[in-house]
């Protein structure tokens, strides 16, 4: 590694705080004009960061100082929580962004690494959410088990789809998963035990004896109970990033990439294509189920219309917007896709139109997404 490639830790630290600040500001501000102005500032800053190579510098420093990055993200998140301390809705939005981003990382493993199209992501998120709701019928079951169990149930339900997913490619695989997403909605809607169209209620989370429906009090400073969920969502997001980054930055990442890019060449060099696809599909579905279960317990109520085809498409578009195959892209992309429609309520039915225009404009300006995928960095000590 040459000294020229050695970066400083501060670009990553500043980026974490700027991003958290932007997110908190957009989540907190109710004044429509201000939101629009802020979004414009955000867009300009991002474009400038990409054009001037700042984004690349941030990524390089983040890669070289993983501990500094982790610390900065945690501090930035805590600062954002403190800033929003009494704003229930704002905190809820931030937790939602983090959970959606978790789900997008699951999709990144499937679509970005192994090349499996999944247009039924909302069905998998919903499976996790409903599994958590059903586990709630057993009040003695501790919540960590509920969340992990819901992830595993999602994996099991997803494995029903393995055969069609392994046997189809491209558009056909997209159709299979799309069909699953739709069937999930229809099934839940028609099953009275699962509440049918009325949906199901869930209890809040209790973790290690701490009830998440309690406000956090630090001396005289009161923080809304939603902060609990923000921190849990952050932990789950961190787990997703950990899984995706270890997968990507090892032999597995190379095998998954070759499976996506050229099945024939991979097979000729001994790669067991089916096995790696199963691994990617399973890992992605687990993250979707885990995010879904947490989301369900946070909201306290779920219904079939929370998990529609539109949600599946939204998740796929978040992956494309973020930059296919770049796990960090999930965060800014879901921030835009979750916050924008919420904040633009005032233009009512036009908001989806505007939302679509924003996505198209971003992709025209940067076809590879907000954070384009770069060449793999396997291990900093061994390889520059």
């Amino acid at each position: 590694m040459t000294s020229a490639q050695r970066a400083a830790p501060w670009p990553a630290i500043i980026a974490a705080f700027v991003f958290a600040g932007m997110l908190a500001a957009v989540a907190a501000i109710d004044n429509q004009r201000l939101v629009i102005a802020l979004l414009c500032v955000f867009a300009v800053v991002w474009m400038a960061a990409m054009r001037l190579g700042v984004l690349a510098r941030v990524e390089r420093s983040a890669g070289q100082y993983p501990h500094a990055l982790r610390g900065a993200i945690l501090l930035a998140a805590l600062a954002a929580v403190a800033l929003l301390h009494e704003d229930n809705f704002g905190l809820l939005m931030i937790a939602t962004v983090l959970l959606y981003a978790t789900c997008c990382i699951g999709l990144t493993i499937q679509l970005g690494y192994a090349g499996l199209s999944n247009f039924g992501a909302a069905g998998f998120v919903g499976t996790g959410a409903y599994a958590a709701a059903v586990f709630n019928w057993l009040p003695w079951l501790p919540d960590p088990l509920v969340l992990v169990g819901a992830g595993l149930i999602t994996v099991i339900v997803g494995s029903l789809l393995l055969l069609p997913v392994l046997r189809t490619r491209g558009h056909y695989a997209a159709l299979t998963t799309l069909a699953f997403g739709i069937m999930f909605g229809v099934f839940v809607d028609a099953t009275p035990v699962l509440g049918g169209p009325q949906g199901l209620k869930l209890a809040g989370i209790t973790l290690l004896g701490w009830d998440f429906s309690n406000d956090i009090r630090v001396a005289n400073f009161v923080i809304s109970f939603y902060a609990n969920y923000v921190l849990l969502a952050l932990a789950i997001f961190a787990l997703a990033i950990f899984i995706a980054s270890r997968l990507d930055r090892s032999w597995l990442g190379i095998w998954l990439d070759s499976v996506r890019l050229d099945e024939t060449a991979s097979a000729v060099f001994g790669v067991n294509i089916g096995w790696w696809k199963i691994l990617a599909f399973t890992a992605g579905n687990f993250l979707a189920g885990l995010a879904g279960a947490t989301y369900a317990q946070m909201m306290g109520f779920i219904a079939p219309n929370n998990f529609t085809l539109a949600d599946s498409l939204m998740l796929v578009s978040a992956v494309i917007l973020g930059g296919i195959g770049n796990r960090w892209g999930a965060l800014p992309a879901t921030a835009i896709l979750v916050l924008l429609p919420e904040k633009l309520q005032f233009i009512q039915e036009y908001r989806l139109l505007l939302f679509a225009i924003v996505v198209v404009v971003i992709l025209m300006a940067s076809p590879a997404g907000l954070v384009p995928r770069r060449i793999r960095r396997l291990e900093p000590g061994v390889v520059a």
Binding site: R246, W251, W255, L261, A265, A267, G270, R376, G381, V382
Partner: protein, 267 residues
């Protein structure tokens, strides 16, 4: 038991009504470089695809290294020590040179999920080893390639991509290497350069058995011990290049009556 690395008997492949391979017998001796020539559509690449398990044969048998391997999967054949290149480059262009080459070592690495996810130190040691191996192998072809190990493959020129593809096939230390038209898309100078490098590598790796498909007769003359000529899925001639080149049947079917001497001289 004979000492052949590859033994095909009565190999037949049909595409609808077309007999791509018609009861073909082919033997490849240990340590031999066999040239496979013939007009376009004569079944050369089909033979490679059947032998490497990409296509399934419709009849006949294949023995690889003394073991019956007819209709085995490409993965199973790779594990037994078979490697190949492709006529049209099949590198993953968006990945780095290292990623592409190390794919060829899959059968050697083959470490599990837990190992990769949680034993980072062991992984780092393994990685260091393979970075060195890839560097050494690429250096035999082109020393400059070692500095570009982590550049995307798309940034390489045609001849370097071919070198990377051949290194990918070599790094798993195969017993048999199938080279499908390594000169495709390259100039004559580049081709003879690449062949010289290939021979140098082979000298370093011990006497690797190679089957090479080529339309460049200079290459065939330069590197092969023996040639097999295919036409319409059948073997029409076999022998040393000098014998094959003068065979009237081969001249009629492939080389043309006016063929006298190769444009590329021996190395």
């Amino acid at each position: 038991m004979n000492n052949n690395v590859l033994d095909c008997r009565g190999l037949t492949v049909r595409f609808g009504g077309v007999l791509a391979l018609n009861a073909l017998d082919l033997e490849v001796g240990r340590g031999e470089i066999l040239g496979l020539i013939g007009p376009n559509g004569s079944g050369k690449t089909t033979l490679f695809n059947v032998v490497s398990g990409v296509y399934r044969s419709d009849g006949g048998s294949i023995q690889f290294d003394g073991e019956a391997v007819t209709r085995l999967s490409p993965q199973a054949l790779c594990r037994r020590g078979l490697a190949r290149t492709f006529q049209r480059s099949r590198l993953c262009l968006s990945l780095s040179v290292f990623d592409n080459v190390v794919l060829g070592a899959y059968r050697r690495i083959n470490s599990g999920v837990v190992h990769n996810m949680f034993r980072r130190r062991a992984f780092a040691d393994e990685l260091k080893l393979y970075v060195e191996k890839c560097g050494e192998l690429l250096a035999i072809f082109n020393p400059q390639l070692t500095t570009r190990l982590f550049d995307p493959a798309i940034s390489l020129g045609m001849i370097d991509r071919r070198r990377v593809e051949i290194c990918r096939a070599l790094i798993g230390q195969p017993k048999l290497l199938l080279l499908d038209e390594p000169s495709a898309g390259m100039t004559q100078d580049e081709t003879s350069q690449l062949m010289r490098e290939l021979i140098a590598v082979r000298r370093q790796l011990g006497s690797l058995t190679i089957v090479i498909i080529e339309h460049e007769m200079g290459v065939i003359e330069q590197v092969t011990d023996r040639c097999v000529v295919l036409n319409y899925g059948r073997k029409i001639c076999e022998g040393r290049f000098a014998e094959v080149a003068t065979d009237p049947v081969v001249r009629e079917a492939y080389l043309g009556r006016a063929y006298t001497k190769s444009p590329v001289g021996p190395a």
